[in-house]
Symmetry: C2
Subunit: 644 residues, 2 copies
C-alpha cells in the first residue's frame, strides 16, 4: 500500500520548475517513476543486524522486482530490446531508498545479469536471463580477487579447457586468487560469473568469464566451491559480500560466456576480436553501465543528504541576535550557507553532467548506430563521473551530517547510514584514483592522435583543436560555449565574475594547459634514462589534476546546456546563479593554479570569495525551491528531525 502523502507532494512553483530542468531530457520518465515507485517500505531499520538486514533487503528486492522495479533494462531472453535508460532511471529510483537494496539490485541485475546478457550468447540468454530477472536465480559477479582489485588483467583464477571432456576446469591456484568482496557470495548466490585466465592446450587467451554453479537449491555449497562470509562492513549491511574459491571445479563447455571469445568442441579458440588487448577492453567495456549507475546513485545519495540538511537549516534556530530574539535560523548564517549552498550547486552541476552521461549510454547501448569512438568516450566519461560524483557524495553527506549537529549523528535522521553505505562507492566499480588515471590516459591518447599528424610548430593549434573541438564535440553545449568563450578570450579579466564566458574560458584553459604540459612531461619521461616506472610515477598528481580539470569542464558545459534547455522564467535566473556558484567554487578551489599560470590576477582572485558570498545571499531566499528541485520527495527523506 502506498501512502497518499507521498503522492500529493506539494511543491513551490520554483521547486517544480527546477526539478523539471534538472530531470532534463528524462523528466517524464523520472516523474513517472516517482509516481509509481512503491515507497512505503523505503528505509531499513538501522538496528537490524547483518543477517536480519540481509533478510529484509532480499525481501524488499523481491517486492520491488514483483512490482516491476529491479530488473528493468535487463533483457529476459535472447533478442529482447535493450533498455539502458530504464536500467539507469530504475537504479536512481532505488537509490532513493535503502542503498543495500540498490546495490543488491545492481549486483543481481546489473553486474551478474548484465554479464550474462553482454558477454553470453543465445543459449546463456535463453537459459538464464528469465530466472535472473525474476530473482529466482540470485548470482554473483566474481571478478575482483584478494590480490587483484583494480588490476583485472592480472587475475590468477584459471579457466582451463579439458580436451575431450567438453568441459572447463575453474581453479583458484593461490590464496591471492580468491574472489573477494563479491555480492551475493556469502549467502544468496546460486550461480556465478567467474572471471579468469582462459587456458586452452597450455596457451593463455587472457581474461574470460564462465558460469559456475555455487549452491544447490537448498543453499548448500557444491563440491569444490568454497565461500566465506566477509561479515560486517562499514555500511551496506544488507548485501552479503563474501569470498569465493574454486578447487578444480568442472563445468560444461557451454558455460563459458563466449560472445567475444570461445572454445569449439575440438578445442580451437575463436574470437571475433583478434587483438587480445582490444578483446579484454571490449569485454570490460560492456560493463560501463555499472559505473553510470553508481554515479547516478551517488548523486541521489548526495541529494538526499543535502535535502535533509537544508530543510533542517530552514527550521533550526540557534543564538539570538539583534532583530532575531528567538535565535537566528541556521541557514541565515553565511557560514552555514557557505557550507551547504555550494554543495547544492555542485549537485545540480553533476546532475546535468549525469544526464548527458545517461544519454551517451543510451546512444551506445540502446541499439542505435554508434562508433567505437562513441563507446570509448562513454567509458571515459563514465569512469570520470563515477569518481567525482562518488567523492562528492561522501563529502556532501558528511557536511550535511555536521550541519545537523548532534541530530545528524542519530541514525533516525538517515545521514550516518547514507554516509556509511555510500562510502564504498569510491572504491567499487573501479577505485576512484585509478579511474581518474584512466580518464587522463584517454585524453592523452586523443591529444597524441591530434598531435601526431602535425609538426612541432602546429602544437598550439593541435591543443586548441583537441580541447576546443574534438573532445568538445560530444557535449550539447558546444556551440553555445564556443561563442561564450570567444567573447571573452581576448580580455578575460574585463568581465564580471559571474560572466559565463569567463567561466567557460577559465575551465577550458585549465584543462588545455594542464593536458598540454602533461603531454610534454610524459614525452620527456618516456625518453628519460633510468627507472621508467619512477619517471612516470613522478607525474601522479599532474595526472589527477588533468582528469579533474576535464571533468569540471564537461560538467560546466552540461550545466550551460541544461540552462539553455530550461524555458521557465522563474527557474532560469536561479539556475544561472547556481551555475555561477558552481563555477566560482571550482575556480576558487584552483585559484592558486590559475594565478600561477597567469590566468587570474591576484586582485580578481581576492574578489572571488565575496562574489561567492553574494551568490549565497541571492540564493538563500530560494533554498526550499532548490532542494525541491533536487527531486527527492520530502516524504521519502525519512529523517525524524523533519517530522515534527
Amino acid at each position: 500500500m502506498t501512502l497518499l502523502a507521498e503522492r500529493t507532494e506539494t511543491l513551490t512553483t520554483l521547486g517544480s520548475a527546477l526539478r523539471r530542468a534538472l530531470d532534463g531530457a528524462f523528466a517524464d520518465v523520472r516523474a513517472a517513476g516517482r509516481e509509481s515507485f512503491p515507497a512505503d517500505n523505503l528505509l531499513r531499520d538501522p538496528t537490524l543486524g547483518v543477517e536480519a538486514s540481509r533478510d529484509w533487503v532480499f525481501a524488499r528486492l523481491r517486492e520491488l522486482t514483483e512490482a516491476g522495479f529491479g530488473s528493468t533494462g535487463l533483457p529476459r531472453a535472447a533478442g529482447d530490446a535493450p533498455d539502458p535508460l530504464g536500467a539507469v532511471t530504475t537504479f536512481e529510483l532505488l537509490a532513493h531508498g535503502d542503498l543495500s537494496v540498490t546495490i543488491k539490485s545492481g549486483v543481481q541485475f546489473g553486474l551478474f545479469g548484465g554479464a550474462v546478457a553482454n558477454l553470453g550468447t543465445e543459449w546463456h540468454h535463453d537459459t538464464y536471463l528469465g530466472d535472473i530477472a525474476a530473482l529466482r536465480l540470485p548470482g554473483c559477479f566474481a571478478m575482483t580477487e584478494l590480490g587483484h582489485g583494480s588490476d583485472v588483467a592480472s587475475l590468477e583464477t584459471t579457466i582451463t579447457f579439458l580436451p575431450g571432456q567438453d568441459a572447463f576446469e575453474v581453479d583458484t591456484p593461490t590464496p591471492a586468487a580468491t574472489k573477494a568482496y563479491i555480492g551475493n557470495a556469502a549467502r544468496d548466490g546460486k550461480l556465478a560469473v567467474v572471471f579468469g585466465q582462459l587456458v586452452v592446450a597450455g596457451e593463455r587467451h587472457g581474461v574470460h568469464a564462465v558460469l559456475v554453479p555455487l549452491r544447490d537449491p537448498a543453499g548448500d555449497l557444491l563440491p569444490g566451491v568454497h565461500a566465506a562470509d566477509q561479515g560486517h562492513k562499514g555500511g551496506l549491511l544488507g548485501v552479503d559480500n563474501g569470498t569465493l574459491a574454486f578447487d578444480h571445479v568442472r563445468v560444461p563447455r557451454r558455460m563459458l560466456l563466449d560472445r567475444y571469445g570461445g572454445v569449439a568442441a575440438d578445442g580451437g579458440y575463436h574470437s571475433s576480436i583478434d587483438n587480445p588487448n582490444r578483446r579484454f577492453f571490449t569485454m570490460l567495456g560492456t560493463l560501463v553501465r555499472g559505473r553510470v549507475c553508481i554515479a547516478a546513485g551517488a548523486g541521489i545519495a548526495a541529494r538526499r543528504a543535502l535535502s535533509i540538511a537544508v530543510r533542517y537549516g530552514l527550521r533550526r534556530r540557534q543564538f539570538p541576535a539583534p532583530g532575531r530574539p528567538d535565535g537566528v535560523l541556521l541557514l541565515d548564517y553565511l557560514t552555514h550557507q557557505r557550507r551547504l549552498l555550494p554543495l547544492v550547486a555542485r549537485s545540480y552541476a553533476l546532475g546535468f553532467a549525469q544526464n548527458e552521461l545517461t544519454a551517451a549510454l543510451v546512444a551506445v547501448q540502446g541499439g542505435s548506430e554508434h562508433t567505437e569512438r562513441d563507446a570509448r568516450e562513454l567509458e571515459t566519461r563514465a569512469a570520470g563521473l563515477k569518481a567525482v560524483t562518488t567523492w562528492f557524495a561522501n563529502a556532501a553527506i558528511q557536511e550535511a551530517r555536521e550541519a545537523c549537529g548532534g541530530a545528524g549523528y542519530l541514525s533516525a535522521n538517515q545521514l550516518t547510514g547514507l554516509r556509511g553505505d555510500a562510502d564504498i562507492f569510491a572504491t567499487f566499480e573501479g577505485d576512484n584514483t585509478v579511474l581518474l588515471q584512466l580518464v587522463t590516459k584517454a585524453l592523452l591518447t586523443d591529444y597524441r592522435q591530434a598531435w601526431s599528424g602535425l609538426d612541432r610548430g602546429g602544437l598550439v593549434q593541435a591543443t586548441a583543436r583537441v580541447v576546443g573541438g574534438t573532445v568538445l564535440e560530444r557535449t550539447a553545449a558546444n556551440l553555445v560555449v564556443e561563442r561564450l568563450v570567444a567573447s571573452v578570450r581576448r580580455r578575460p579579466e574585463e568581465t564580471t565574475l559571474v560572466d559565463r564566458g569567463w567561466h567557460a574560458w577559465m575551465f577550458e584553459e585549465r584543462e588545455r594547459h594542464s593536458l598540454e604540459s602533461l603531454a610534454r612531461r610524459m614525452r620527456a619521461a618516456g625518453r628519460a634514462a633510468g627507472d621508467s616506472f619512477e619517471a612516470f610515477n613522478a607525474l601522479g598528481d599532474h595526472v589527477g589534476f588533468v582528469a579533474r580539470a576535464h571533468l569540471e569542464r564537461v560538467t560546466l558545459e552540461a550545466f550551460i546546456a541544461g540552462i539553455a534547455a530550461c524555458p521557465d522564467p522563474e527557474a532560469r535566473p536561479v539556475l544561472e546563479r547556481l551555475c555561477s556558484l558552481y563555477a566560482l567554487g571550482s575556480i576558487g578551489a584552483d585559484r592558486a593554479w590559475f594565478q600561477e599560470h597567469n590566468r587570474l590576477s591576484s586582485g580578481r582572485a581576492k574578489a572571488l570569495g565575496e562574489q561567492v558570498n553574494q551568490l549565497c545571499r541571492e540564493l538563500r531566499p530560494h533554498a526550499l525551491g532548490l532542494v525541491e528541485g533536487l527531486g527527492i520527495p520530502e516524504g521519502w527523506l525519512g529523517a525524524a528531525i523533519l517530522q515534527d
Copy 2:
C-alpha cells in the same frame, strides 16, 4: 590476561626514537601506560547490536576501572590532589581501544565526575566522588538541550528555589528544553548534573548545575523524570545516549553544585563572582579538560587509522611495472605517498601541539600558580585544537579507509568503525565551527587590548606585538622561532622551500595579516548602519580563516620545539622532513592566499608541489619507523589485513 606479544613489541631504532620524541615531555608516563594497559580485550565485536554493545562497554569499563584505568585524574574526595595529566594520558590510552569505552569513560569520569568535582563543594565531593570513581554511581552530564546546543546561555531548563522548603524544583518547561544526546541517560545513569537557569524569588541568576537523581537502584525512573533512548547512532553504539525531561522534580537545596554560586537557607543568592557573564564563563571554563581529552583521543584515532593504512601500503602490491614483475608496492606509488605521508606528518604536528596543550592544562589545573590569562589561553587553545584535530581525524581515517580499498570497508579491518565512532567528535564538546569562532574572538580581544593603548599610527607595531610577542609567549619555541623568522624576514623568497625560518615567517604573516584585516573589517561592521547581524555575518569565512591560521602557527611552533628537544641523531632529520612536509602542506593549501597577499611569487608557488613530492620520496624509506613513532603498538591495531 595480557598477551605476551603485545608487550614485546619490537621497534626499529628509528621508530623507537620517533616515538620518544613525539611522546615528548610525557614519554615516560605514556610508555608506562602502554606497558601496563590491559590490552587483551581492546576492541568490540562490530556485529554486536545496540544493547549488546552497551553491555560489553559497561563491562569493559568496569574491568578497566578495577585495573586502575578510567577514573584517573578524578579526585576521590574533597581535598584530593588534582591529576589532569593522569586524566588526559588515561583518556589517550583508552582511545587505543573501542571508542565507546573511551567516551563512556569521558562521560562518567570527565564530564559527570568532573562537574561534581569542579562545580561542587565539599559535601558533594565527599558524598559522591568515591562512588563515581568506582563506577558504582553512573551518571549524566545534562547540559545540551534539543533546542540549544552550542548556545548554552539560552538553556531553558529551570532550577527554581522553593522558599521555606530547602529545595529546588527542576523543570523542563518546553519540548525544546529537553536534554538531548546525553550519555548514560538512556540506560545506565542514576544521577545527573543538570544545567539550567537558576531562579530565586523570581530573579534569574543564569546557568547553574544541580544534581538530580534519575533512577532507583533497580534502574526504574524516579517520579517526574522522563528519559528516552536515542537509539542507534552513526557510531559509539556502546554509549547509551538519550533525552531527559523533568516534570517539576524536587531536590534538596544542597544538591545545587554551588562552588561558583549558591542559595542560602534563607533564599539569598551568593556567588564569589559578581559579574554573571564572568561567572558563566568561569563555570564553563572548568570543563576545558573535556576538550583537551577529545582532541587527544581524536589524535590517537587518526594515528590508528594511518598506522593501518601505511602498514598495508607496505605489504600490498598492485599492477606490475618495469623492474617490478610482482606488482608495485602501494606505498611506492607517489600518488599513494601523497595520500598518506602528509597526513602522517600532520599527525606528528598535531601531536606536538597536543603535548603543549596538555602541559598548559597541567599548569592551570595541576594545583600550581596560574593567572586568569593562562586559563583563558588554555580555553582558546583547547577549543581550537579540538576543532582542527577532530576534523583532521575524520579526514585521515577516511583517506586511510580508501587507501585500503575494499579491505578498508570490512569492519574486521577497523577503519570504518573508527570513522563512525570519531565522526561525532567534530560536534560534541563544542561544534567545531563554533569553536573556531571562539578562537578568533579571543584573538581579536588580545588584539584590541594591545591596540587600544596606541594611536592609529602605532597600529602596525601593535599587530607585530600581538602576533610576535604576547600571543607567542606561551609557546616553548618562542625564541627559536623569532630567530628563525628574523633571518628570513628581509628576503623571504631567497630561501629554499624547506627553510624553517621561511615556514615560520609565512605562518606568522598569514595569521598577522588576516587578523589585522579582520579587526579592521570588524570595526567597520560595528560602525555600519543597518542590520548589525548581517554586517558581522558577512565576515564568517574570514573569522574561520583567522582561527585556522592561528592554530597552524601554534602547531608549527610546537613541532619546531619538539624537534629542538629531540637528541636522537637518526630521528632528528626525519622529524625535520616531516615538519617540512607539514609546513608545505599548510602553505600549499593556502598558496592562493599567499599569492593574493604578495607573500609568495607564482614561480615559487609552482615549485611547492615538486618539493612535496621530493619530501615524500625522502620519507618513503622510513615509512615503517614513521608509523611506529605514532605510538600505536602493532598488536593493538586489530586489523585483519595486517595479520597474515
